[in-house]
């Protein structure tokens, strides 16, 4: 795939101070550059009021949004991140893209540790990791034209001159099937449909030729009948451009459709991870089983076997000791209430965080 984009990006200096490092990076890349996340933690301190910070002796409480997760994403693969709201999927995504600083843990790209670089030099990391947001109605600046939005990244990184940027925009828009691209250049977001806006957001992310694209619920706000456009497109792009995609969704059926591997998150931990078909076909963690059993089926006669649940999701700030899912789990026993479970391998590339395997 020797597109103009690729050639441009290889030739052009990134305008960085450490020229040496950038030269090493542009020596790029038919090898599989993997994203490796090791024991990632992101805690948010909870602010105390002025008086209590003066007088109270309580230690600052933390919201442990992501509490020690590890996973890999390979090029050409779509990894699904499933879970309900509050489980930490969006926090993981934003940390991976450099919007949040890591509290502890390591992130590696192509074998090199980049944990600190991601935030310190976010501009450079932007060339590797990009993001597609959930809300197509809010993720484009209402006052920017389509062309401006798409070439913004090129302007920021000073890539190419005006004509070259326009060419790259044409290429990116064609990839996302916005045809003919030139017709859309001067349009504003409010003149476009939800599906078009989302595809333009994808084009904007692609124009910098990233290796990793994080798609955060990319279709949940789109009408059902046009979701397939964006979903099938993401799949195509992964193959065409050898992208690595982290696909976040609370819709398991969608994850089943598009993701090669899946990680199920609950209250900041990955409770199960493995090939999607395995996870859907043979879910081992009680929470995964619960999630799967809760999916409604478009068949009026289908009786679903539901996993029984006790209680509501606990307060993520005051977590009980032991396994996080313990309070709600049918199979919980004493060790579950005392010790946090370790990762257990239950299949080739299939891991579960549970005592009761």
């Amino acid at each position: 795939m020797s597109s103009l984009m690729e050639r441009m990006l290889r030739r052009q200096p990134t305008g960085q101070k450490n020229e040496g490092k950038s030269r090493k990076r542009t020596m790029h890349v038919e090898q599989d550059e993997m994203i490796e996340v090791r024991d990632l933690r992101k805690y948010f301190p909870l602010e105390k009021g002025f008086l209590s910070s003066l007088f109270s002796r309580e230690r600052t409480k933390f919201l442990k949004a992501v509490d020690g997760i590890s996973f890999d994403i390979h090029q050409g693969e779509i990894l699904g991140l499933a879970g309900e709201s509050g489980c930490g999927k969006t926090t993981t995504a934003k940390t991976l893209v450099g919007l949040y600083a890591v509290t502890s843990g390591k992130i590696l790209f192509g074998g090199q540790e980049i944990t600190e670089l991601m935030v310190r030099d976010r501009k450079r990391w932007a060339r590797t990791a990009q993001y597609v947001f959930q809300n197509p109605y809010e993720s484009l600046n209402p006052r920017q034209t389509v062309l401006d939005a798409v070439i913004d990244g090129l302007k920021i990184h000073r890539i190419g001159n005006r004509e070259e940027r326009i060419e790259m925009a044409v290429e990116a828009l064609s990839r996302v099937k916005i045809m003919p691209p030139a017709d859309f250049f001067d349009r504003f977001p409010h003149q476009l449909s939800g599906g078009q806006r989302q595809r333009i957001s994808i084009a904007r992310a692609l124009v910098l030729n990233p290796k990793l694209v994080i798609a955060d619920e990319p279709v949940s706000m789109l009408d059902v009948s046009i979701r397939a456009e964006v979903i099938n497109l993401l799949k195509e792009l992964t193959e065409q451009m050898r992208l690595a995609i982290l696909f976040i969704s609370h819709d398991i059926s969608l994850i089943r459709y598009i993701c090669d591997r899946t990680a199920v998150m609950y209250l900041g931990k990955i409770v199960e991870i493995g090939p999607t078909d395995e996870i859907i076909g043979h879910p081992c963690h009680p929470y995964t089983q619960l999630l799967l059993s809760a999916v409604p089926v478009p068949d009026p006669d289908a009786g679903r076997i539901r996993v029984k649940l006790h209680g509501d999701i606990p307060n993520p700030v005051d977590l009980p000791p032991g396994c996080r899912f313990g309070p709600r789990c049918e199979r919980a026993t004493d060790p579950c209430r005392l010790y946090e479970p370790e990762r257990v391998q239950v299949g080739e590339d299939h891991f579960v965080l549970c005592h009761r395997i």
Binding site: Q134, N141, I156
Partner: protein, 294 residues
């Protein structure tokens, strides 16, 4: 690059017209404002007499004449044509109004943008400055400032600019606070944009309608202030202004006798200030779609 710029400018002007299409009062305001600008620019051509020109008829000064076809708003104690005075007075009003408004909205927008976007200590500090500005009573401050630095029109503009930015600063800061967490701003960050770039290209354009709204409102306030100052005798002695006209009728206590002398400048002030408010409201509707009617 140039091609893109012309398209953008064209679009910019078109969208300003859109603002007024939906709001009839705003349109009226814009027309009135335009009339006053014309009046100010072409004053010597429109006004039948000079502003201080004393008019004689049959050898005698035409004092305190009530309105007639020759003198649409009558004459003053000194035989001056009030209509001409009002026309020439529009110059002071428009100049002070527009210049102060621009100054106020530039300072206010800049403070609002920086304070809202950066938050933290910068925000805290700037907002305390705003609190201070609110604590200072406006008219007394201007009077004292002008008395100390000199009764010139520039000092009035600066005086207004030193305080009135406090309102747009707060309002724009509030809007920036809501804008800065919107996905498209985060998207820009993810693309690698610097804070400066985000403020300039993502946030500022979205804050512009509010800026325009406050520019128009500030114009109204400025004109009133200038009229107040002149009425109290602190106006620029070199310029004719509506407030000064009122000052003159007041000091000779002729208000009950010469109602026309009060009506003319009063009407002018009301009309121009209202036009500012109507324009401001029209822009406010752009910012808050819920204010729009169907």
């Amino acid at each position: 690059m140039k091609d893109g710029m012309t398209k953008k400018l064209k679009f910019f002007f078109q969208s300003q017209l859109e603002v007024f299409k939906g709001d009839s009062l705003g349109l009226i305001g814009a027309i009135i404002f335009a009339c006053f600008i014309m009046m100010a620019i072409f004053a010597p051509l429109i006004a039948p007499y000079g502003p201080e020109e004393m008019i004689y008829q049959e050898g005698r000064l035409l004092r305190l004449q009530s309105p007639s076809w020759h003198h649409l708003f009558g004459t003053t104690q000194m035989g001056q044509d009030i209509f001409s005075q009002v026309i020439y007075g529009s110059r002071a009003a428009v100049l002070v109004g527009v210049l102060s408004a621009v100054l106020v909205s530039i300072i206010g927008t800049a403070v609002g943008l920086v304070s809202g976007y950066y938050g933290g200590k910068t925000d805290a500090f700037l907002m305390r400055v705003v609190d201070l500005a609110y604590g200072i009573p406006f008219l007394p401050f201007i009077i004292i400032l002008v008395a100390l630095t000199g009764l010139t029109f520039w000092n009035v503009v600066i005086g207004i600019g030193l305080l009135l930015w406090r309102t747009p600063a707060r309002v724009i800061r509030a809007q920036v606070l809501s804008l800065k967490n919107r996905p498209f701003v985060e998207a820009s960050r993810v693309l690698g944009a610097s804070n400066f770039r985000i403020i300039l290209f993502q946030i500022a354009p979205n804050v512009l309608p509010l800026t325009f709204s406050y520019t128009a409102l500030a114009m109204g306030w400025a004109i009133l202030t200038e009229a107040n100052l002149s009425f109290l005798g602190y106006g620029d002695p070199m310029m004719t202004s509506w407030g000064k006209i009122l000052f003159r009728v007041y000091i000779i206590q002729a208000m009950t006798i010469a109602w026309w002398w009060v009506l003319a400048p009063g009407l002018a002030i009301i009309l121009l200030v209202l036009s500012g408010f109507f324009i401001g409201r029209a822009y406010e509707k752009v910012t808050n779609p819920r204010l729009r009617e169907y």
